[in-house]
């Protein structure tokens, strides 16, 4: 088994120590950081996503794999320092204004990074204007909003309305999610996508950014 396969295999097992060891080996063997990232780490995370979708593994397994992914990325980061880690897109995420529940949003952020996106996590209780300002400043292609309360869901619409006002619809896509959020609600407020869980959200973001 070559080193990149070993990285992918151990990532799938959630073994961050082994991923660290084999990533070091790969670097020593002069494999390019980009190849290690794409054909070792991201390749492994893609398989994890497929296994989760097929109900072969569960959320904790996915999160252990994500930790292993981060272990490898930590070693690659200094090597990408000049141009930064290559990303497949930039996503601004946050829990909407008035809402402090951030577990779901955090999981989406972890999985987006694992899939190769650059993630700007604004945290929780994020105002609509902050979403827009940061997305504009960072030239993000997607805004991801999470809400756990029915009372805070209307803030998602305000963000989309602000995008319309600023004629940014189409340039900046939106995806929403959270326990009370439904596909129907996403359609009603004009969101571009709805993610029913963290893995599904990543697939949808890939779709929005033309990756699938």
């Amino acid at each position: 088994m070559d080193i990149l396969n070993k990285i992918s295999e151990h990532l799938q097992l959630g073994d961050d120590e082994k991923v660290r060891i084999f990533t070091k080996e790969a670097i020593k063997a002069k494999i390019s950081p980009k190849e290690i990232l794409n054909n070792g780490l991201i390749f492994g995370m893609d398989i994890i996503g497929k296994k989760y979708k097929a109900h072969e593994i569960f959320l904790p397994d996915v999160l252990l794999a994500a930790k292993a992914m981060y272990a490898g990325m930590d070693l690659l980061r200094p090597m990408f320092i000049k141009g930064g880690i290559p990303t497949i897109g930039k996503v601004v995420i946050g829990t909407v204004q008035g809402d402090l529940h951030d577990i779901g949003k955090n999981l989406v952020g972890i999985m987006l990074k694992g899939a190769g996106f650059e993630v700007i996590d604004l945290g929780n209780d994020v105002s609509p204007s902050e979403f827009i300002e940061i997305a504009k400043k960072e030239d993000a292609s997607v805004i991801g909003m999470s809400a756990l309360l029915t009372t805070t869901m209307p803030f998602m619409k305000i963000v989309i309305d602000l995008l319309k006002e600023e004629r940014l619809i189409g340039k900046i896509k939106t995806i929403i999610g959270g326990a009370p959020v439904t596909e129907e609600f996403a359609r009603e407020i004009g969101a571009d996508a709805f993610g029913y869980d963290s893995i599904n959200a990543i697939e949808k973001v890939k779709g929005l950014t033309g990756m699938t």
Binding site: G14, D99, L107, L149
Partner: protein, 242 residues
């Protein structure tokens, strides 16, 4: 004979909280009928240990007469026009406001774990903490019904269920009046401007005690179509199974 108004801070030992693993796994989207890895089991065990180390459960319950609860329930006037609770509480024998928490330290620990890239353990601990908070609410509910049972206020036809702002048409802003009446700050729970509680792993609401039948409603209210869980069905079924 009706007893005097009860208000009590309920002391809860960690050993009194009987967490149901099945509920924690359900929260983690792990189906009960599927095998899972040893790693998942280990995570659960570690999360349970952290729960024991970092949680500080506390509860508060205070009986409230129906006319006073009507004011609390009306809240800021933002409830749905028709709600199940609006029908239910008027037929109750007893009502009690309650608040419970497992404390801030556990929430902080969950945040720390995510900061350290311990996502799986952090997520599992979050699920354990949610289940723990529900169990603390069960303990407070039981404590209130025990107090009523002492004076023979509870019979085999009595049904006890709790209802919370933010669910089934009771608007979240109802928390404001609830807090004004109950004062959960006595157990370290405060209300934020967004009507969320701090610590986040806290629950507040009303315990409704009356004939089982008063809790029985059909989930055909306008807002029911937006509900993803329909947990009300399980709650009502369980009440009639007892």
């Amino acid at each position: 004979m009706k007893m005097k108004i009860i208000r009590e801070i309920v002391e809860i030992r960690i050993s009194d909280i009987k967490l149901e693993k099945a509920n924690v796994f359900k929260n983690q989207d792990i189906p009960l009928n599927r095998e899972h890895s040893l790693k998942v089991e280990t995570l659960f065990t570690e999360a349970m240990e952290l729960f024991i180390e970092f949680s500080h459960p506390k509860g508060l319950v205070s009986e409230i007469p129906i006319p006073e609860f009507e004011v609390v329930y009306f809240g800021e006037g933002l409830n749905e026009k028709k709600t199940p609770l609006d029908e239910i509480f008027k037929k109750a024998d007893y009502l009690a406001l309650f608040a419970v928490t497992i404390g801030e330290k556990l929430s902080q620990k969950i945040g720390e774990l995510f900061e350290l890239d311990e996502f799986a353990l952090g997520s599992m601990l979050d699920a354990v903490a949610s289940e723990g908070t529900e169990k603390v609410a069960d303990i407070v509910e039981n404590r209130f019904s025990e107090l009523l049972a002492k004076s023979d206020e509870i019979t085999s036809s009595t049904g006890i269920l709790r209802y919370c702002p933010g669910y089934c048409g009771w608007h979240m802003s109802g928390q404001k009046k609830l807090f004004e009446f109950l004062h959960p700050e006595d157990i370290g729970v405060t209300l934020l401007d967004s009507y969320l509680m701090k610590p986040l792993k806290s629950i507040s609401g009303v315990i409704v005690i009356g004939e089982k039948e008063i809790h029985n409603f059909i989930d055909s209210y306008a807002f029911c179509s937006q509900c993803k869980t329909h947990f009300c069905r399980d709650r009502i079924s369980e009440l009639f199974r007892e």
